[in-house]
């Protein structure tokens, strides 16, 4: 059996806001085909940790490596390998749903962008909204579009912050199966979630952050 390669390596990560230490000496190693679920109550540090992992926030100490490269948000190699859906995803107000996906597919040099876009669009059930501008989408539809931006492009590591947010029951079930299938194909996934069904279906390891409520 081939040895699975390490995609993400986190060593001694520390983040504090003033006197409040959010996490300290946090270590994590994620290999291909592994899915790590971060759970914990609100304010436990899940989103902060994910922001540090993708380089959107700077840790006070420790290191993050993706495929052997030190994390640098501006690095094209990191951007090529890591697909993220965290709370800071923005959309062009004057580009339609399908045009956003087409742009990402082409930017990543996908051979047949039309086919890739159509496939993802159908999967996230946004075909009727393909010509709509993002400002007119409902919050659930915006979430689906955000997830589609991660699925339409090549990736080695997928980082998601509460991907189930604003999705209906059917949407959560679809997402769980989609992430499970991605993991089985060898994708490394790190995600924060409050949804037991999603965690149970997708995660190979669960990390509980923060102290449990007293």
């Amino acid at each position: 059996m081939a040895k699975r390669s390490t995609i993400l390596k986190v060593s001694g990560l520390r983040r504090a806001f003033g006197p409040n230490t959010i996490f300290d000496k946090f270590n994590l190693e994620v290999r291909t085909g592994e899915a790590i679920a971060l759970t914990g109550r609100n304010g436990a540090g899940k989103s902060t940790l994910l922001r540090c992992l993708v380089g959107a926030d700077r840790a006070d100490d420790g290191s993050v490596e993706v495929c052997g490269n030190a994390m640098n948000e501006a690095s094209p190699e990191i951007r090529r390998d890591v697909a993220t859906v965290i709370d800071d995803l923005d959309f062009f107000p004057d580009l339609s749903v399908v045009e956003h996906l087409d742009l990402l597919a082409r930017a990543h040099g996908i051979a047949d962008p039309d086919e890739a876009v159509d496939e993802v669009l159908e999967e996230v059930q946004l075909v009727p909204q393909s010509g709509q501008l993002p400002g007119t989408l409902s919050s659930g539809q915006r979430r689906r579009l955000a997830l589609a931006t991660a699925f339409v492009r090549p990736r080695k590591l997928l980082i998601l912050d509460e991907p189930e947010q604003r999705l209906d029951t059917e949407g959560v079930a679809w997402l769980a199966q989609r992430l499970k299938s991605e993991r089985q194909k060898g994708l490394a996934i790190v995600f924060a979630s409050h949804e037991p069904e999603l965690v149970e279906t997708v995660a190979t390891r669960v990390i509980q952050l923060g102290a449990a409520r007293g």
């Binding site: 993708v54 380089g55 959107a56 700077r58 100490d61 948000e73 501006a74 690095s75 094209p76 951007r79 090529r80 890591v82 697909a83 993220t84 965290i86 800071d88 995803l89 923005d90 959309f91 062009f92 107000p93 004057d94 580009l95 339609s96 399908v98 045009e99 087409d102 742009l103 990402l104 082409r106 930017a107 990543h108 040099g109 996908i110 962008p113 039309d114 393909s130 010509g131 709509q132 501008l133 993002p134 400002g135 007119t136 931006t149 492009r153």
Partner: protein
């Protein structure tokens, strides 16, 4: 007999007496009630507030007096000028101000309503059984009065600065003010029947008229044609405009008032939400955010587009999308085209020395709407993180189309620097071209700097002042972009070679586009400090271990 058949009385239930019909409060009573509440909660009256802020009041009075003094001096100086250029400017520029004011009043009215209501009013008052027309009437009147005052000030200012006499200034102030007020009333009348096509059309017509009037000033200065207008014709034309505007104002106001009750609540609230969003952004002095809100609003109004297939791969795809987006919303191109007139007009009006600065500032304003892509990609890192390129390359791709357009703008404005009007600075063709390129670079880079501005960080260390503590970014954010314009065109202002300006533009481009922005520098500095601390820690540990071994 079943319990149901027994009737309600068997359960001890008595039919309540018919309630007396209630008389709803009138809108006036409600407003008075709210005024009483507000006054009751106020801790200071107006005089006390003004006495607390006496420094600000005193400063405002001083600055106001200085501005009026400068305007009066300029008016006296320009009034002495009797050249064809000055006469044409005196005759035509008030017309340009008139047309531009009407265009702006219509555009702003269409964007905000002009009749609007806040979210609280929408929730608590608009559903109440009171006359919506009576409730909204004060809003309509307020908007019309505000437009009148704004228009009158602008009309008076332009008329005075072109050297017109007092009577003419007053006539044009009245004409421009009334035309702005009638534009708002017209837009309100259209709002009442949910139609905006006429307002839209009129906005463009008056915009084109304003640019046409500016072109006429240039044409007369260049000697292409002359109007041969008599000196006193301005007053007569102004009076005719007052009569026409008053007629439109009366008819439109009556129509708007009759239709006030028909305006949908969502339409009233969306205007209110836009105002509260923009005012919030302005309170934080975040002009970029205010613009984002307007851009988002316009996109929502459009809602749906016919999707277009992209082209190319990699960065080419990003550049192609920028081009497509520009064709989808081409209005900024019209504004850019209109700014070509500015250096010609400035030269024609004898402001040859200031021409590069004025032209760069005009281009700066015109290029900002072309940089929406750069704005989205830099305001949060989310979308840029999805693209497999460095931030520097993303920025370059985002400004490729605006840079090409700025290049075309430079070519189109080159003749303005050859020595256009009376007493203008004459330059040879290569120098004129380089001056135009330097000016275009200043405008473009200023817009790039403005677009990339981050919101003020209220978590940063504050600076103490008499008005209270404020973050330093609050002040510097206001000058973003203007600084690049002024610094880049300063050598041209001082009569130095345009190569100096191009050199400064090169340095500015390196800082703004090669990711050498403050944030990246801070991040690099933090990373270096972290590495240094780690090395220091290792050295201390190694020294301690060596000491231990010696013992």
């Amino acid at each position: 007999m079943s319990s149901l058949e027994a009737g309600a009385d068997d359960f001890g239930y008595e039919q309540p007496p018919e309630p007396k019909p209630l008389t709803p409060a009138s809108p006036r009573e409600l407003k008075r009630l709210m005024q009483d509440w507000r006054a009751g909660r106020a801790t200071r009256n107006v005089l006390q507030a003004m006495s607390d802020a006496y420094v600000a009041v005193f400063a405002a009075v001083m600055i106001g007096a200085m501005v009026v003094n400068v305007i009066m001096k300029a008016q006296r100086t320009v009034a002495q000028c009797t050249s064809a250029t000055c006469l044409s400017a005196r005759a035509i520029l008030p017309w340009a101000a008139f047309a531009a004011t009407v265009g702006v009043a219509l555009a702003v009215s269409r964007l905000f309503g002009p009749v609007l209501a806040s979210a609280a009013e929408g929730f608590w008052l608009l559903d109440a059984p009171i006359s919506r027309s009576k409730l909204l009437r004060s809003r309509l009147v307020g908007a019309i009065v505000a437009a009148f005052l704004g228009g009158a000030v602008l009309g008076a200012l332009i008329s005075a600065l072109t050297g017109s006499g007092l009577t003419e200034v007053l006539v044009w102030a009245g004409a421009t003010g009334l035309s702005a007020a009638s534009s708002v009333a017209f837009a309100a009348a259209q709002q009442g029947i949910e139609r905006h096509r006429l307002t839209h059309l009129a906005t463009y017509v008056f915009g084109v008229l304003a640019v046409g009037a500016l072109f006429s000033v240039v044409g007369v200065a260049a000697g292409w044609f002359s109007f041969g207008l008599a000196d006193d014709v301005g007053i007569e034309l102004g009076l005719i405009m007052i009569a026409g505007s008053t007629l439109v104002l009366l008819i439109s106001t009556v129509l708007a008032a009759l239709r006030l009750g028909q305006i949908r609540r969502t339409r009233l609230l969306s205007g209110g939400a836009l105002v509260s969003g923009i005012s919030g952004a302005f309170f934080a002095l975040d002009v970029g955010l205010a613009r984002d809100i307007v851009v988002e609003r316009r996109a929502i109004e459009r809602g749906h587009v016919h999707p277009r297939r992209g082209k190319g791969v990699g960065l080419e795809a990003l550049i192609w999308r920028e081009w497509q987006r520009l064709w989808r919303f081409p209005q900024p191109l019209l504004v850019l085209a209109a700014t070509i007139v500015v250096p010609y007009a400035a030269d024609a009006l004898g402001m040859s020395v200031l021409t590069p600065v004025l032209a760069a500032l005009a281009l700066f304003g015109a290029i900002i709407p072309l940089l929406n892509g750069l704005r989205v990609l830099t305001r949060t890192g989310g979308l840029a993180r999805c693209l497999p390129f460095s931030l520097a390359r993303i920025k370059l791709a985002s400004i490729a189309v605006p840079a090409i357009l700025a290049g075309v703008w430079a070519v189109a404005t080159t003749p303005a620097y050859l020595g256009f009007g009376d007493g203008a600075i004459d330059r040879p063709v290569p120098e004129a071209f380089l001056t135009a390129v330097a000016t275009a670079a200043a405008g473009l880079l200023a817009a790039v700097r403005w677009t990339q501005a981050k919101g003020v960080d209220f978590g940063a260390p504050m600076v103490a002042s008499q008005a209270g503590a404020f973050p330093p970014g609050l002040v510097t954010n206001l000058f973003r972009g203007f600084d690049v314009c002024i610094i880049t065109t300063a050598p041209l202002l001082l009569g130095l070679s345009p190569w100096w300006s191009l050199g400064i533009a090169g340095i500015a481009a390196a800082i703004l586009l090669n990711s050498m922005d403050a944030e990246t520098l801070r991040a690099r500095q933090a990373e270096q400090q972290k590495q240094l601390a780690e090395q220091r820690k290792q050295r201390t540990e190694a020294a301690a271990a060596a000491k231990q071994r010696k013992r």
